[in-house]
Subunit: 345 residues, 2 copies
Amino acid sequence: MLSARQIQILNAIVDNYIRHAEPIGSRTISKREDIGYSSATIRNEMSDLEELGFLEQPHTSAGRIPSQKGYRYYVDHLLKPTHLCEDEMKYVRRLFADKYYAFEQITQHTAAILSSLTNYTSIVLGHEEILDTKLKHIQIVPLSTHSAVAIIVTNTGKVENKTIQVPEGIPIDEIERLVNFLNTKLVGLPLLEVRQKIQNEISSELQRLMENYQSALLLLEGAFRGTEPEEKVVLKGTTNIMMQPEFRDVDKIRNILEFLDTNEQLMKHFAPTSNGVRVKIGTENREDVINSCSIITATYHLDGNPVGTVGILGPTRMEYGKAIGIVDFLAKDLTRILEKLYSGG
Amino acid sequence: MLSARQIQILNAIVDNYIRHAEPIGSRTISKREDIGYSSATIRNEMSDLEELGFLEQPHTSAGRIPSQKGYRYYVDHLLKPTHLCEDEMKYVRRLFADKYYAFEQITQHTAAILSSLTNYTSIVLGHEEILDTKLKHIQIVPLSTHSAVAIIVTNTGKVENKTIQVPEGIPIDEIERLVNFLNTKLVGLPLLEVRQKIQNEISSELQRLMENYQSALLLLEGAFRGTEPEEKVVLKGTTNIMMQPEFRDVDKIRNILEFLDTNEQLMKHFAPTSNGVRVKIGTENREDVINSCSIITATYHLDGNPVGTVGILGPTRMEYGKAIGIVDFLAKDLTRILEKLYSGG
DNA sequence: TTTTAGCACTCAACTACTAAGAGTGCTAAC
DNA sequence: GTTAGCACTCTTAGTAGTTGAGTGCTAAAA
């Protein structure tokens, strides 16, 4: 539907605006060596492109800037994703080489890399899909007569710990017996199942095993409460947004940072859904505070199942080509690392 | 050295400026009902106070604002620390009542309370003084043939965990034996000593106990590396600073937020030193980025020993009275809670 | 039919100037 | 010692005028 020339011009405008953050006039475009038309011709095409909704004008005597639809077209049809250069690849690989990290450290590192390579705010979600997380070990360590730490280790290397209150009438050696019993019964099961078993089977078996099984059950409930699949959010480079000329406004920045602080909000935008890289531009994010931002996400996997999301948040005027390349690469690399560390483990 | 009237005027100016963030003129002061002098008299006194270095003038035809020396005098001599009102006390107490939290959660909560009560940025340092942290339990859980999770629990309820690489040639049941051996030998000792013992005694005993004790030692070193007393920094309300009229500048804000992101920097300013509340105003902080900020800190304790610091960072134009009251209260309350939970434990 | 040169028009951004207002410092009178 | 009065300073807000980038339209050229 767009003519070849229109596409060429749209591409030039988006490119230019992404680089310089300023409206582009017809003369600027006509002067580019890859375009052999006069400013008047460009002007006509620009007028058409605006009518079609791909461009907009801040005011009459200004140049044009891409509209959201313009960015969308650019991302869908014109973009050539940039691959990481040698140095960048090395930089990423070096950070993960030779070392065995816990899941959380990996996400931390990934977020740091992502924001330093892109200069946008990076977000990594450790969405530990409970179906694939199996109990590896459980431990209850008494601290004093009335408090203890419950520790739950999963096959993904995640360690959950919780300080819990010890109900009256459970002596310390009873706890040890309880823990041994649990480890023989529950290790290897998915966490979801573990919680169910405690409610049913374990409950009755416990009755035979221990005197005050009521209290013991209370203890266990405390230990597992709040271990429901909690998604850890890692944010890095939040100050990067302030470098963008379109965010030189304190209130805009405050709104965005406050938005980033409320994890629940972020979840929605970063839920792992489909494969590949997703790009959400402006109001596609359905959130007023970030309607002049774009979000690029990709899902990473373990044993073929989605585990979490990596992504970046930047202005709609984003270097999409480079950003998509980097997010894609990191999601894949993260999958590779997880497979290596935890697959089948 | 300052006359009663000068003190009265200085007090009025600092008070006023803290409230309204605008230079105060002689007429404004003379109109206050507690001051019975004409603007001309005030003017003379203000001129003297400026000469003495307590006030400064943004420009000739503006009013006066307190200088750093002025704030210092105000804090040292004029201030009446505000006590928390009933509602605030209840708010704090309710959050900590009836629940047993792990050390980290407590610091998180404290920071949240601090920033919401003061509307400044709050910082809580979990300075776990190693001398008082004793090993409560150690556990190594194998994840796969070549990776494992090492878990160290201390008497303060802190759980450190680390994913480590398992050297070649250590079968799983050997690890179990190793852990049991360590628990009998090391539990109850201060962490510092634990690390020394592994280097010396344990090393030789291990030699008798296990075949490839070399590898086992490697494993242990991996587990304890990086468990050196690491101070966790909890920050809340970082966006509060943007509400202050003197920080409506994106670059200033970026600098401050970047400063807050580098934990190492913060440590210096929050090292627990003396007792009581400390107030550092402007350049007293010896750090360019925050030379228009003040920091108020107080140290909290366990068994009489300093454990960490709570504090806030705000503009030099800070509500010192209220802020000092709140920081003081929270440091004391935190001490109270820690004693209750972990003392002697 | 497509492209381009030319021209009138628009509008933000910058500059220069003015007026208003808040506040000071000094002097002289109380 | 205190205060009224006044000239002076300096910021802020507002108003014109100017500039320049950019457009839209028309008519001529290709």
